[in-house]
């Protein structure tokens, strides 16, 4: 056991825990302010904001011997016998001086700075800074420089070098460097080599001040209007934890959510800037019924009953489940198909794969498989039908034996089906298609139903490594769109509202693979492999 004292509060750590003083203080609920330290990056101890008084207990005498000077907490390991003082006058004065020093060179253009509201410089100044500014420095407009994927406000920078360390250690692309010396230090890129890599958006999150601006988000919204919802990125099979930040049902940005089991602190640009399809006006936004050549818009309130009658009267049924469905929706769809036709054929829709996995030196991987839930849907299908079949095998069977009804749950972000395949599926008497965007298949469908985008539905996804995570609903779907889950819930004539968490409990009871989810899923998800090993 490691015994530490922080502000007279005792803390015990396991012998194998190697924490610095910032992390150790967090355990007892004391926040040590810091700019340059980040758990995912190397330690430089350059900002001096985390200075603390540090001492060591002499094991022989029991006396505490304090170091004469303040030490940076980020660089000081919390070893056995450490004594940390963060609430002394000396520490408070050091923090105030660091704040004053940083603000000497700062433009203080908070009113037009996108970071205002979530800026560490603001927060720490409010908490630890002095009331008055002694230097006679007037606010000025920051110089701005385009450095590639993001925009740099040169004078707002406090030279914490987090971004520089990120591009060296995590993305491994090393575009950014610190030019100049002393007061002339600036973040810069070499001419002709702009910041351009698939993780570049993370430097904006890392920046503790408003120096690095997201070009996509710049001036769109003030951060204090945004509401955040814990969700899962559905861009690839890595299933990164994200925050959906929205205001009035419009997504303004996606941010990584710390999850050491999946994405650590980062997300890729593909996921970060992959949300605009949610607000794409070309989406299917109303249900459509096609009878011969006449197309009508059915009423959502009457549609479930009508669908049930049509499907029940059609005969043999097949369902195509896309890997974009949540576990709960896949489970309900399998149940529904089986309730109509106990012999229903259940198949996995096409799994989009683009290129190859992109692995970064820091360990971050962008998966080639561009769907969030292949593993989850596979396991639901395995449990429901005893075997895993693909769309190809369904098409082969379709050539031999006619099907009465086919339900295709799509939800793909990209075009996914070609005209000939759609024609073959359309041979069924009743073809129900749920999809995000119009496709050859939705044009031929008897019922083309709009599908909810990832941010509009709640549910669980299982990533490539069998990590199950739940996502909350970020925004409400547009009027005229019903989420797959709530529609299936009504089709199954279940009572009350559709709630993904209660369906997941049913899934966990019914399918052994999902059994660990029965006890609830935390914010970082649960590893389903642990169950398989047991």
């Amino acid at each position: 056991m490691i015994h530490i004292t922080i502000d007279n509060r005792p803390l015990e750590l396991r012998d194998d825990e190697r924490l610095n003083c910032i992390e150790a203080a967090r355990r007892v609920g004391i926040e040590i302010p810091h700019y340059c330290w980040h758990p995912g990056l190397s330690v430089v101890a350059s900002c001096r904001m985390c200075l603390i008084e540090y001492g060591m207990t002499n094991q022989a005498t029991g006396q505490v011997e304090m170091m004469p000077k303040l030490v940076p907490a980020c660089q000081t390991p919390a070893v056995d016998g450490s004594v940390v003082v963060t609430n002394s006058v000396k520490v408070a004065r050091a923090r105030a001086m660091v704040e004053e020093g940083l603000l000497l060179d700062h433009p203080i253009d908070c009113p037009i700075c996108d970071k205002a509201g979530e800026c560490l410089l603001q927060d720490y100044h409010f908490q630890y800074g002095q009331d008055e500014r002694r230097a006679d420095v007037r606010p000025f407009t920051s110089r701005r420089r385009d450095i590639g994927d993001v925009t740099l406000f040169v004078d707002r920078c406090i030279l914490c070098s987090r971004c520089v360390r990120f591009v060296r250690e995590v993305s491994g692309t090393s575009e950014l460097y610190v030019s100049g010396r002393g007061a002339h230090e600036e973040i810069d890129v070499v001419e002709g080599f702009p910041l351009a890599n698939n993780l570049s958006g993370n430097v904006v999150d890392l920046c503790p001040v408003g120096a690095l601006g997201d070009k996509d988000f710049l001036y769109k919204q003030r951060v204090w209007y945004l509401k955040r919802h814990a969700a899962v990125c559905t861009g690839c099979s890595a299933g990164c934890s994200i925050w959906i930040e929205e205001n009035h049902d419009r997504i303004y940005r996606l941010k990584p959510r710390e999850n050491l089991a999946v994405n650590r602190w980062w997300i890729c640009n593909e996921g970060r800037y992959g949300y605009p399809h949610v607000h794409n006006p070309e989406r299917l936004l109303l249900p459509r019924r096609r009878e011969g050549d006449t197309v009508t818009t059915p009423d959502w309130t009457k549609l479930p009953r009508e669908l049930g009658e049509r499907l029940r009267g059609a005969g043999r049924m097949a369902a195509v489940l896309s890997p974009f469905l949540t576990v709960e929706e896949a489970f309900l769809l399998c149940q529904y198909a089986r309730s109509i036709d106990p012999e229903a054929v259940l198949v996995l829709g096409p799994v989009p794969v683009v290129g190859e996995d992109e692995v970064f030196p820091g360990g971050f991987t962008i998966r080639a498989e561009k769907c969030p839930n292949r593993r989850g849907v596979e396991e639901v299908l395995l449990a429901s039908s005893g075997g895993l079949r693909t769309l190809e095998s369904l098409l082969d069977e379709l050539d031999r034996l006619p099907f009465g009804a086919i339900w295709v749950a799509g939800g793909y972000r990209q075009p996914w089906i070609d005209e000939p395949t759609a024609q073959r599926l359309a041979r069924a008497d009743v073809l129900v298609v749920q999809d995000l965007f119009p496709s050859p298949l939705s044009e031929l469908a008897t019922y083309a139903l709009p599908s909810a985008a990832f941010a509009e539905r709640e549910g669980s996804y299982v990533n490539y490594a069998d990590q199950l995570q739940t996502a909350a609903r970020g925004v409400r779907p547009p009027a005229g769109v019903r989420t797959e889950g709530s529609l299936l819930w009504e089709l199954l004539s279940r009572e009350r509202m559709y709630r993904a968490s209660s369906v997941l409990e049913d899934v966990a009871r019914a399918i052994g693979y999902f059994a660990p989810a029965a006890k609830g899923v935390g914010p970082t998800g649960i590893d389903l492999r642990a169950n398989l090993l047991a």
Binding site: I112, R138, F140, T141, D155, S179, G180, A183, H184, Y219
Partner: protein, 185 residues
Amino acid sequence: MKPNDPDIRWVKEPPMGPTGKTYLSLFLGGFTTTLKHLVSKKKTIPFPDRHYECPDPLIYRGVHRLNRDDQGRVKCVACFLCSTACPAYCIDIVAAESPWPDREKYPESFTIDELRCIYCGMCEEACPVDAIELTSLFDLSGKSREEMIFDKEKLLAVYDMTKDAEPRRTAGRPPTPPRDTGGPS
């Protein structure tokens, strides 16, 4: 609380004297006030033939205006502090990168719903650049709701209309251009 609660202390009205019973003293007191006003200078203004003269137009909270800077451009920097402070949620701003080299951000659109506004003056208090101010115009009327939603041009026009009678309360510094730090850039 019940009437027999021990915390309630019941007080009896004092009995009226002979003067009180005749109401004479009270009648005389009240009628004196009436007579005083009958002969004093009349305060009623025959609006709209005559307009109310605001004793201090600088502190009156009437229709908003958007001030212009020295070059005639909108002074607002689209920081959203007014719409954040607004208790009636009547200010809607769309920010954009400014088309001018010496300014970073400006309001692409700036609308105030004058019908929704409660004229509390929080917006002008919140403004860091003294761009939004309340004028002494109080007789605001319109024929439709749409007409009462003031956009940027209309708010700037209010400034042009009132700038001579009601100068800006603070001169306001123009934003300092980027500093030359002397180092390599």
